[in-house]
């Protein structure tokens, strides 16, 4: 019995379970590495994999082996000019360790770290571990007008294009058998009787009886023939039902103060926060729109490049951005179809009388439309906007605010904002 088996299609990734166990074991190191990567790396390539360095000694599997010392004799190939009794300086740095125990360093990287690549998915997994989008529960069916059709068995009415021929014919056969069986049994009985009568001697009474029988048989045959081959009640249609699906579209509003007081460093902080939020949303929604709104005394909707790089100067009226955001929502993102998220970054500077108005706008107009609204202040100092917002945060569950004045605070702050219930940051 000789055979060749094509195994190529039979599951690759047999080792995926082993890889998971490996990652699990080194979770701490991986988490640290991810954290360092987030802090160190440029924002545009944040959603990439990462090389993880793990000190070799923590992943070594110790076994008993010989150490240096004692007497050993090793045979080597490729003698050039040695003769018996030659003495050679002992090479420094250990030389060969033991006789063939384990492989010599198996990579070109020597003995320092065990390096491996975390895939993008795994990276993001670690990155957003223990985080959850708040208020996801509110994606209820009531406000989700998107439907998906799928099959749900068969029904007796429908459109011709959904006609299920096999089912229909099967029903027809059953109906024909059921309706004709009584007549057929009768017919068989009469025919048998007729056959018997014909076999007997011919008398007028018999002839009369035979004629009557033949009439009956004819009538029965006609009745059987009248049973329709296919009847409208046989028809079966594939049933397709529409089930509402939670909408998988989200729009994220990035609001940023670009007034004179926001310097590059502060903008960079804000940008990091926006990116984190964006990445996080990509894990939950298939389609995400981003709306960039920047403002000083007036707000305008811009593209990404202008949002982060164009410089403006002037005073600050935060409410202008909120007003514009509401306008955009009303115009383009109906609440029933879109999950709306807002993220606002500012240095807390605002024209004094404007702050109460901001709070009012948020509370009455914007928060009811939003899934979540996060405010991040990129300086320590608390000003009137902070106080107003702080009062709002007390009342509203969908509003959260934090301060982050250094780059390395962004990630913890973000984690803090989106922490799952009952999990320590």
């Amino acid at each position: 019995m000789q055979q060749i088996i094509d195994r190529r299609l039979a599951g690759k990734n047999k080792s995926i379970g082993n890889r998971e166990r490996f990652l699990r074991r080194h979770k701490e190191q991986i988490r640290d590495a991810v954290k360092r990567a987030v802090e160190g790396r440029g924002i545009r390539d944040i959603a990439q994999g990462e090389d993880i360095h793990i000190p070799r000694r923590t992943i070594s599997e110790p076994v008993f082996g010989h150490g240096q010392g004692g007497r050993r004799e090793m045979v080597h190939p490729g003698n050039k000019d040695f003769v018996r009794g030659d003495r050679i300086e002992r090479p420094q740095g250990g030389g060969s360790d033991g006789s063939g125990s384990g492989q010599a360093s198996d990579s070109g990287e020597g003995d320092d770290d065990f390096v491996f690549h975390l895939t993008k998915e795994e990276f993001m997994q670690v990155f957003f571990e223990d985080l959850a989008l708040p208020n996801l529960i509110r994606t209820t069916l009531a406000d989700t007008p998107e439907f998906k059709t799928h099959r749900a068995g068969f029904s007796s009415d429908g459109t011709p294009n959904n006609l299920h021929v096999v089912r229909s014919m099967r029903g027809a056969i059953g109906r024909r058998i059921a309706l004709g069986s009584e007549s057929r049994r009768e017919l068989a009985r009469l025919e048998e009787h007729l056959l018997r009568l014909r076999g007997e001697s011919d008398t007028p009474a018999r002839r009369h009886e035979i004629e009557a029988l033949e009439r009956d048989i004819e009538a029965l045959r006609a009745r059987i023939a009248r049973i329709p081959y296919l009847d409208p009640i046989d028809l079966r249609y594939r049933s397709r039902v529409r089930t509402p699906v939670p909408t998988a579209k989200a729009v994220m509003f990035c609001l940023m103060d670009v007034s004179g007081s926001m310097d590059e460093a502060r903008k960079d902080l804000a940008k990091r926060f926006f990116i984190l939020l964006y990445l996080f949303l990509t894990r939950h929604y298939e389609k995400i729109d981003i709306v960039f709104i920047r403002h000083h005394t007036q707000a305008q909707e811009v593209d990404e490049h202008d949002f982060f790089h164009a410089t403006e100067t002037g005073g600050t009226v935060v409410s202008s951005a909120l007003v514009l955001m509401e306008e955009v929502i009303r115009a383009r993102y109906p609440r029933g179809e879109w999950n709306i998220y807002g993220a606002q970054a500012s240095d807390g500077d605002n024209w004094h009388d404007d702050s109460p108005r901001c709070r009012e706008l948020l509370q009455n107009n914007i928060l009811p439309l939003c899934r979540y609204f996060a405010y991040i202040q990129v300086v320590e100092q608390e000003q009137n906007l902070w106080y107003e917002y702080a009062a709002l945060a007390q009342e509203s569950e969908t509003f959260a605010m934090r301060k982050a004045s250094e780059i390395d605070q962004i990630y913890p702050v973000f984690r803090d904002l989106f922490r799952k219930e009952g999990v320590a940051a």
């Binding site: 490996f22 076994v63 082996g65 150490g67």
Partner: protein, 540 residues
């Protein structure tokens, strides 16, 4: 699969047809070259891309040729796999199924990384010592490579697995896959019941002692999957009973002489070299499922034990036969020139031995050494010189096939080299040996490939492949039954070589398994204790 054929377990008499009966069905003779009438009119097509049909045809002629040389093999099962699947197989020590463990994940990650960077080519083949014998052919290989791999794995390695005495004694090719399936399911069930962490910790500890989990002198009983399952329960109950000796709390009788009593209480009565076996049977605190996992690791270690002892022989045999089979095919007119040249090129790469000091040097290449030795045995049989007549009087002029077959069946690396390493091979490799004695400030060249050095070299080379001196000799010395139930291990130094620094780490693993303090003494050549270690369970 078929445990009924396992007469060692069932107790049937050996069939005289079988090698176990120390007899062979028919004496091997070198076949005459193919008669002209039997030669093919034209060679097999030799495109670089393989097809299933072509593999079948190549396989058929290789099979026929192997049969002419009397290679006795298990049935072959060739499987085509992708590079990724090859890496999977790599990572789980070459087996098609295995239980899950992070170290295999680590293996996979580093294999994958090296492969992606092009630092390392994948092995062309993996062959599994099972019945039927499974050989993996990689999708990326060219037709010539597939032919080479079939000859190498499906006929070379396969016949070695079936013929070599170590494999016959220690492995049961028919049940290994079943056993691994059982092991995988059992470990998975334990993970579910007792948590991944607990199982991982246990496996870590077992793996640390894996090399000390083999029986060297007794065949372990082999059971098929069903029997294995049936007996698992009995075994658990029985094993738990055995622990009682250590737990005995009855006060000892005081009227006896103390020295005599100590003698009587010595446990184990004799030192034990199979650490895992001792732990499985005697560790006081292990749960039944833990004992079963220790047993699984032990069984897997035992399965690989012959492979670790026959690297040179096994690879050399397979290399010799792919070389010989393909050359015969070529002579018979089956192979195109292009195919043959590609095979020879790969063959040359495989048997390359970088000299010491070469950047690629990492010890002897077992393919090169084995191939050279088998080839030289053939040469000695066919065209002996005076030197060969002096060194190998019983081989010179004999039938080479029979001599080679005898060598393959009855030796392991250590004895094979001790018996067959010829002066010519030593000269060709330009072997020399270096003595490294810590008492000496310098290294000394103790022998080179000359008349005075051949025997020394051969002995040194043979020792180098002796597992007994490659691995430290560590045995279970005693258990303190009356006191703290501590376990004493003893390391007997080989040539005063001390243990590696990670001995302490390994002892921690032993302590985890044993559950009570573990001591180890390292005894040097003079019988003095050179070093002591002690690990408490609290610190482990």
């Amino acid at each position: 699969m078929s445990s009924t054929f396992n007469r060692r377990h069932v107790g049937q008499a050996a069939s005289p047809e079988e090698y176990g009966g120390r007899r062979r069905a028919a004496p091997l003779r070198v076949p005459p070259p193919l008669a002209l009438s039997e030669r093919p009119s034209q060679p097999l097509p030799g495109p670089s891309d393989w097809t299933f049909d072509l593999i079948e045809r190549y396989h058929a002629v290789i099979r026929g040729t192997a049969a002419r040389f009397g290679l006795d093999t298990y049935p072959n099962q060739l499987e085509i796999i992708t590079a990724e699947q090859m890496m999977d197989a790599y990572a789980s020590v070459g087996m098609p199924v295995n239980y899950r463990h992070w170290s295999y994940g680590k293996e996979f990650i580093s294999t994958e990384k090296n492969y992606r960077r092009g630092q390392m080519g994948l092995a062309y083949e993996i062959v599994i010592n099972s019945n039927p014998c499974i050989s993996y052919l990689m999708e990326e290989n060219t037709m010539a490579m597939q032919a080479l791999v079939i000859a190498h794995a499906a006929y070379g390695h396969n016949s070695f697995f079936k013929g070599n005495y170590l494999f016959r004694m220690w492995t049961d090719a028919s049940s290994i896959i079943d056993y691994l399936v059982y092991a995988k399911n059992y470990v998975a069930a334990c993970e579910e019941r007792h948590g991944v962490d607990a199982v991982e910790l246990l496996l870590d500890s077992c793996h640390a002692l894996m090399n000390y989990g083999v029986d060297r002198y007794r065949r372990p009983s082999k059971l098929s999957l069903t029997q294995e399952l049936d007996r698992a329960k009995d075994r658990e109950a029985y094993a738990q009973q055995q622990v009682n000796e250590i737990w005995r709390t009855l006060p000892p009788r005081l009227d006896k002489d103390t020295a005599e009593k100590d003698e009587a209480l010595r446990f184990p009565v004799e030192p034990q070299e199979n650490l895992l076996y001792f732990i499985e049977k005697n560790a006081p605190l292990l749960e039944p499922w833990q004992r079963e996992i220790v047993r699984i690791v032990r069984k897997v270690a035992q399965y690989f034990y012959p492979q670790r002892q026959t690297q040179v022989m096994n690879e050399g045999w397979a290399t010799f036969w792919h070389h010989h089979l393909l050359n015969t095919l070529y002579d018979d007119g089956h192979l195109e020139d292009g195919i043959m040249i590609e095979c020879l090129k790969s063959h040359t790469n495989v048997v390359f031995q970088p000299p010491v000091g070469h950047p690629a040097y990492s010890g002897m290449n077992p393919y090169a050494l084995g191939f050279a030795m088998y080839t030289d045995i053939k040469r000695i049989c066919e065209a002996p010189t005076d030197e060969d007549r002096y060194w190998f009087p019983d081989m010179a002029g004999r039938d080479w096939l029979e001599t080679l077959d005898h060598a393959m069946r009855n030796f392991k690396d250590e004895s094979f080299i001790g018996q067959y390493l010829s002066p010519r091979v030593m000269r060709n490799f330009r072997l020399f040996s270096i003595v490294d004695d810590e008492k000496d400030p310098t290294l000394e060249v103790s022998a080179i490939h000359d008349e005075a050095g051949y025997r020394t070299l051969r002995e040194a080379m043979s020792r180098q492949y002796d597992l007994g001196s490659r691995e430290p000799n560590i045995q279970v010395w005693s258990v303190n039954l009356r006191g703290d139930r501590s376990l004493m291990l003893r390391h007997t130094q080989d040539n005063n070589r001390p243990l590696h620094n990670n001995a302490h780490e390994v002892l921690k693993h032993v302590t985890r398994l044993w559950g009570f303090p573990v001591h180890m003494e390292s005894v040097d050549g003079g019988g003095d204790v050179a070093r002591r270690w002690t690990v408490d369970p609290a610190g482990a």
